[in-house]
């Protein structure tokens, strides 16, 4: 049985693969939470989930359509019905005419409620995962602005309720590791932002699901000698915080990774192990020379992340083996990360490129460049790197090196961009990196170095 709290009431379910949205709407008859897309892209199903993270109760806005009940063990869910209609966010939304058709509104309210609790003022980022087709967002942003100073209404004591829940499922890493060796056919669920779609869109029912979200040992970010170790279960929202001080351009890219709701569910381990050629964290990690620890039972091995990706859909991972952690070696920050997508926020990349080039006394002494979206796997641009190494850091060198992308990559054309567009972008992003390192004038419309 999965035990959890919904709007202050302790509930249980024995259907771990049902989505939270279906549970809320179909089992509980709470129809305030809407299904807009059933794939985590529109935010109409947004609810607030509270859970203990390292002893602290943390509230997060999440998409309930791609969360599975198996992930809800020990958590406290709040839907729009529990707000009572007089939450400052609700009142401001009415006053500022923030709803028209009203269908996206409960989700928008829940996103704003979770952000209001944290005192966030980055309203457009907060709302990046909530699509509204009617208002053009202007009145919603005005409503968000208006409630920043309003006090957070008191609610039920979620921490006390959660602490009473007895549950099942993995909490110990060793226990899971042993189990997975014996059950290598299980589908591992980190945040379910990908697995959820298997259920809601492919309409497939994996025979075995293993929920990893309660294994605390996978959720640490540790600063070790020589670098930073990130547990595979670390949320992208947490990763963004960890990168902000150290690699600000990595953090800026993560600001645009999915949406608040997606980053509050999805894990770095999932993004890596999934093997997608357009996953957004591998290019930056590869440029940073990151390695990953793969674990099978009690055996561990460490490989460079770039070596993990063998070919499309194939990784260097044996049966029963899983990604346990990621290690980023200590280095000065020379990282540039560029995500290019059709829509600026909450979009899958046409490509994502990372440049890590070290120049000493005017000469390139290190160059690591990696791209997603340019090949069947995340891949380094080794010919370009070679063309840069040992050369003077000048526009002429850049111009010469740009041509070598054609040796590294043969991109494909799809609905996110043509091969020609991708190739020009790749070349131009090297120029962008050069200009950002050497010119004070702004060279991009959003998110340049501050």
């Amino acid at each position: 049985m999965v035990e959890f709290v919904l709007n202050g009431e302790v509930l249980a379910t024995n259907d771990p693969s049902m989505t939270l949205l279906d549970f809320i709407r179909l089992k509980q008859g709470l129809t305030g939470t809407k299904e807009g897309c059933n794939e985590g892209d529109c935010g109409a199903c947004t609810v607030q989930v509270a859970a203990l993270e390292g002893g602290d109760l943390v509230h997060r806005a999440v998409n309930s359509c791609v969360l599975l009940m198996g992930q809800m063990q020990g958590k406290s869910v709040t839907t729009v019905e529990a707000l009572g209609g007089d939450h400052p966010v609700q009142e401001a939304m009415v006053k500022h005419h923030g709803s028209q058709c009203g269908f996206c509104t409960p989700g928008i309210v829940m996103s704003l409620v979770a952000a209001h609790r944290e005192g966030r003022q980055d309203h457009a980022d907060v709302l990046a995962g909530n699509l509204c087709r009617c208002t053009g967002y202007a009145p919603i942003l005005r409503a968000a602005e208006a409630v920043v100073e309003a006090p957070v209404p008191e609610g039920v004591d979620e921490a006390a309720l959660i602490s009473r829940l007895a549950g099942q499922g993995f909490t110990e890493l060793d226990e899971f590791a042993d189990w997975y060796v014996k059950n290598p056919d299980a589908v591992l669920v980190g945040g379910a932002t990908e697995v959820g779609l298997v259920l809601t869109k492919e309409l497939k029912q994996p025979a075995k699901l293993a929920f990893l979200n309660r294994i605390a040992a996978l959720q640490n970010i540790e600063h070790e000698i020589g670098g930073m170790r990130i547990g595979a279960g670390v949320l992208l929202a947490q990763l963004r915080g960890a990168m902000a001080g150290k690699y600000p351009q990595f953090a800026e890219m993560l600001r645009r990774f999915g949406s608040v709701q997606v980053r509050n569910s999805a894990t770095i381990g999932g993004n890596i192990a999934n093997g997608s050629p357009i996953a957004d964290t591998p290019p930056a990690l590869i440029a940073l020379e990151a390695s990953i620890t793969l674990r099978k039972g009690d055996k561990r091995r460490e490989i460079l992340l770039e070596d993990f990706y063998l070919s499309y859909g194939v990784q260097d991972r044996t049966e029963g083996e899983f990604v346990e952690s990621i290690f980023i070696p200590e280095q000065a920050d020379t990282l540039g990360v560029y995500k290019i997508s059709k829509r600026f926020d909450q979009d899958i990349s046409a490509l994502c490129g990372a440049f890590n080039i070290v120049v000493a006394e005017g000469t390139v002494i290190k160059a690591r460049i990696a791209f997603g979206g340019m090949a069947a796997t995340p891949k380094r641009a080794k010919a370009v790197e070679a063309a840069l190494m040992g050369q003077p850091w000048t526009e002429e060198t850049i111009t010469k090196a740009q041509a070598f992308f054609a040796e590294d990559y043969t991109p494909m054309s799809d609905q996110r961009g043509s091969a020609a567009y991708r190739m020009i972008l790749t070349q131009n992003l090297l120029k962008r990196y050069y200009l950002e390192q050497s010119d004070t004038r702004r060279v991009r419309v959003v998110g340049g170095p501050s």
Partner: protein, 747 residues
Amino acid sequence: MNAAKSIPHDSGPAHVSGEARYVDDYALPENCVHLAFGISEKALADFTLDLEAVCAAEGVIDVLVAADLPAKNDVSPTPDPEPMLAVGTVHYIGQPMFLVVADTHLNARRAARLGKVSYAEKTPLVTLDQAIAASSTFGDPLTFAIGDAESALAEAPHSVSGSFEIGGQEHFYLEGQAAYALPEEGDIRVVSSTQHPTEIQHKVAEALNKPFHAVRVETRRMGGGFGGKESQGNALAVSCAVVALRLNKPAKMRYDRDDDMVITGKRHDFRIKYKAGFGADGKIQSVIFEHFVKCGWALDLSHPVADRAMLHADNAYHLPNAKIVSHRLRTNTQSNTAYRGFGGPQGIIGIERVIEDIADALGLDPLAVRRANFYAAKGDLTPYHMEIEDSISTELVAQLAETSGYAKRRAEIADFNAGSPVVKRGLSLVPVKFGISFTLTFLNQAGALVHVYADGSVQLNHGGTEMGQGLNTKVAQVAARVFGLGIEAVKITATDTGKVPNTSATAASSGADLNGMACKDACDKIKARLVDFASEKWGGKVSFADGQVQVGDHTMGFADLVSEAYMARISLSATGFYKTPKVQWDRMKGKGRPFLYFAYGAAVSEVELDTLTGENRILRTDILHDVGNSLNPALDIGQVEGAFVQGAGWLTIEELRWADDGKLLTAAPATYKIPCASDAPDVFNVALWDGANLEKTIYRSKAVGEPPFVLGLSVYMALRDAVKAGGGDANFDAPATAERLLMALQT
């Protein structure tokens, strides 16, 4: 006055609390069945079905093919047929072929994928070029003309010509298509997320071979419509009704988002060819347009959409000699349908491109060329021979240019660009003039039903539907104003074919114009009875204000008067009716007065473009928009803001792509991107023009739903300006995706 107050949307509190219910939110009886379509995976093929696995799937109760339908297999909004379930041949990928009935929504969806289909494939026509080459059309080309365009073009001192394409647009209403049906003693009650309950009533009745009176259709609200629920909900409602009577059980159907995007029609994509002749002053002497309209596999509303594009080929400009030819192409893709603007925006882009080309050719600011060509306040003829009587473009644009600091910013942008090699800025002012009325003249009618209860509360029903635009709030404000009551005294109930019959779709921006007037007519009738009663009983002049009624020197509460009137056996219920005056239109001749009036507006947008990547954003937009005497400024500004962002999305990031075999590649929000919060302008100033409608519309207001959609074009044109600043070729198609912009900069 209530009618001019910025009252919040009447459902606002219910929206934010989650209490507002949509079709999928109603608790239905336990025995309710759920439906899903099995859809075609080929764009053009003869087919045979083997449904054994579907029938055997978990939870499946029944499976229907076309032959199982009890009467008509047709969901077309026009006399031209459109089968609900394919018969023998499929015409696009996504066409419904069979109907699954199951115990749950999920089981119905699962089973719908298990059909074994044998296809005998033929070569589909996916693109405009393929359809043109195959002469695959709906009817002959239509031409509207004034003057002698060919001769005037030959005689003009300067000329430009070109051709470009404009993509379609997915509606992406947040609430997908949905309906349910309840069997009621052989009759049927349908609840549908539709802009057109009467059409649902008709299609359901025909599908069941029953008279219209046996079918009742209700619509409380939609989670967005934008034209996508004018005809596209017919198939769901008909399916539910057929199954509900077949099994004598409630039946519900809603499309999963991806099914919705694959099955339903979208905005029409266009190719526009143009030739224009003009003088050294930039004044247009002649224009010839050729529209190639991608209609999709069935006719749906394509003729009136394509007509409206022709009727907006002039936008706000006087074209003394003009010829507009329109070709309607049949392709093996989704059947394109109504979408906010209904072809008007596509028609307008044509002339705005001509204006930009003229400015380039003469080295003028495009705004100067626009101003040189505006219709005079009155007297000019449109290309469809309607005399302009209300043009305010010149004054409105002058005011906006002033308040937005256009000239100063034009200079500042030039300075910025001179010092910024990578990031370039662009600026554009685009006006709109939009014709208001259904071009199918008989549709310009509406009804209302008003009850005043004995306690003085008012219940109101009208033929329009609420899809977020605030129509119910505006119409309630009309009733409150007539009776001198607060808005809280008036309740509007769900649109119901049993209360107001024979309604038109809530479309063409006409909702408040038509239903507001019908409501006023009904309220005026009741008010007249109350006035007669009061003046007879107490004597003196009767007036209504602030919930009170003044009769001579006698004052009483509205409720008290109503109570007395009831005791005196005065009828306190009335129907109201309205038909738009003056309109008459002959589309075959291209002559007449299709519109009662025009709504005007203009927008100035400033953008920033990254010439290394094509990424861009809207720095600032200023809009001045004409809604006549606003019924509700807050709701009107909300329509303007929302329409602008939707229009800007259409022309920038919203891109529909089909594979060569006709499969829609952008059939989910993962691949089809509508604007999100950061895509709205960083600075967004919207103001309403101060001026009444010259026509006697409801309190001299003007329609607002569609006209400001066109203002998104200012973003596209500002990007064009930025591309020029970056040395690129400005003749790129729409939408101006980052890819298109970057490729335009490679020249």
